[in-house]
Subunit: 298 residues, 2 copies
């Protein structure tokens, strides 16, 4: 398996395990690996992480969307998390041997098929978007299902990229392509949460800091420690070492030590080879120099 794409569909069901089971079963097929499965009852939402061969992943996503449309009714769905569809959002993420353009192509082909075969309106977002104002998921999802249902037939701004200008009980689905998101936190040797908040404000993109970096300061109550919690939305722009070093520099300015960092969830191998390249001034490091990739990936 030398080409790998990840897909993280979000379904509007976080309470009925048997419904999520059936959706997951519909997506499982040769070439598809289930990496993670999360359900949240308050959000009433499930987040499934799949990865594998691009064609198999695209097919899996279609069957997940079709099954969710059959089993989930947005007219009765209630939950804390914003949503506009039974399958709410489906991002494709390049991991290995596949580019962002490949993922954009998958997103658009799948969007067209979902509209045609399932009669569901589809909006494209992030790298797959066709309009700048639809790049951000939050903008597409504004007002949620209930507002979209009222507006889609009459407001041309809400015309979908594919499919009918009306929603059924499965709502609409947002499909797109984005880079791998790395969730990376740095714990500080202080119980002063304000220091973590100040550092986050300085280093994040929104504050004029590092591109593609989101950051916030939190208190880890159980350990009485302040934490700078970060999302690297494109590690090829700002990687883990750059983010870590930025926190360290800002912590030192404030007379605080960095205690340790933590990685939440997974990273692609490329994030590690990139880190090695940076830490060791190793321009030529690449994934095919890793024994495991020579064995599994070629």
């Amino acid at each position: 398996m030398d080409r790998i794409v990840e897909c993280v569909p979000n379904f509007s069901e976080g309470r009925r395990a048997e419904v999520v089971d059936e959706i997951v079963r519909a997506m499982m097929r040769p070439g598809v690996k289930l990496l993670d499965r999360e359900m949240d009852a308050d959000h009433n939402r499930a987040v499934i992480t799949l990865a594998g061969e691009p064609t198999a992943i695209e097919e899996a996503a279609f069957h997940g969307i079709a099954t969710a449309a059959r089993l989930i009714d947005l007219d009765t769905h209630r939950g804390e998390h914003p949503r506009i569809g039974a399958t709410d959002v489906v991002p494709f993420v390049p991991i290995r041997g596949a580019t962002m353009d490949d993922c954009v192509a998958i997103a658009r082909r799948l969007g067209e098929r979902v509209a045609r075969e399932l009669d569901i309106p589809v909006y494209l977002y992030e790298h797959a978007t066709t309009r700048p104002e639809r790049r951000n998921l939050a903008d597409i999802r504004k007002g949620e299902y209930e507002t979209l249902k009222r507006e889609i037939e009459t407001n041309p701004d809400r015309a979908p990229d594919f499919g009918p200008q009306k929603v059924g009980k499965a709502g609409a689905t947002v499909i797109g392509a984005r880079p791998f998101l790395i969730a990376f936190n740095v714990n500080l040797a202080t119980s002063d949460v304000q220091i973590a908040k100040d550092i986050a404000r300085v280093i994040r993109e929104k504050g004029g800091g590092l591109k593609s970096l989101k950051a916030n300061g939190f208190m880890l109550k159980a350990r009485n420690l302040a934490q700078v919690s970060m999302n690297l939305t494109d590690f090829n722009v700002t990687g883990m070492l750059t983010a870590f070093n930025a926190v360290q520099v800002e912590a030192e300015k404030r007379g605080v030590q960095v205690l340790e960092s933590e990685l939440v969830g997974l990273v692609p191998l490329e994030a590690l080879t990139q880190l090695a390249a940076q830490a060791l001034k190793l321009p030529a490091m690449n994934a095919s120099q890793v024994v495991e990739i020579k064995i599994f990936g070629e």
Copy 2:
């Protein structure tokens, strides 16, 4: 494939490609992947790198040794590289899900079988050795095949760990277990090779520097640069970042910049997760957090 062992058998044939072909063919079987294959005519030696499932790798090594014994005659073999056998040395290297003890067990079991089925004397070395004076390959191989042939029947110090106290035309074979060896070089922004030699002398284990680090200074004539060339014989003792930082500190003391580093050949994923853990103060980083390993390795 959640358990991976590497094996790097060295055969005393570097001129007849068809002989090496036949040896390699004998080793190829399900669960075994050929990672590299090098032949050197002056050395009259071939170095084959295999990796895969431990049982399959052990079986592959046996068939390589049996084929080499059939096709290579040490009485007529000449080459620059020291050797005592048709299959000269067979190290097993733990990569993933297998320990050094597992590799020691493989080496000893294979050694016993080679002696019993092929009537070849076998010496155990490195982590598999049974006597401290046989830990180093060079000590076992002293005087090469020609001396061993004279001494093995009469000198009790040369009694093999397994097999007959006499050699046939296949000679003897050294089998053992060792950590993965990382070949890692750092290029300096100077044409003064003495600086590279001085740095190498200070940082290497032999000079009281970093444990499990071998280093030498060389001139890269084509680029007019001095290079510190290193072998990390156990990256769990001294890893790439520690070695790189040591070169950088010593270079700075001498007023020289580090230009870049280079990795020769492969590294196991663990060397990268270890580097990430060190560079990011990330105590909990492990290989199962890498997407590709979640997909291929579980």
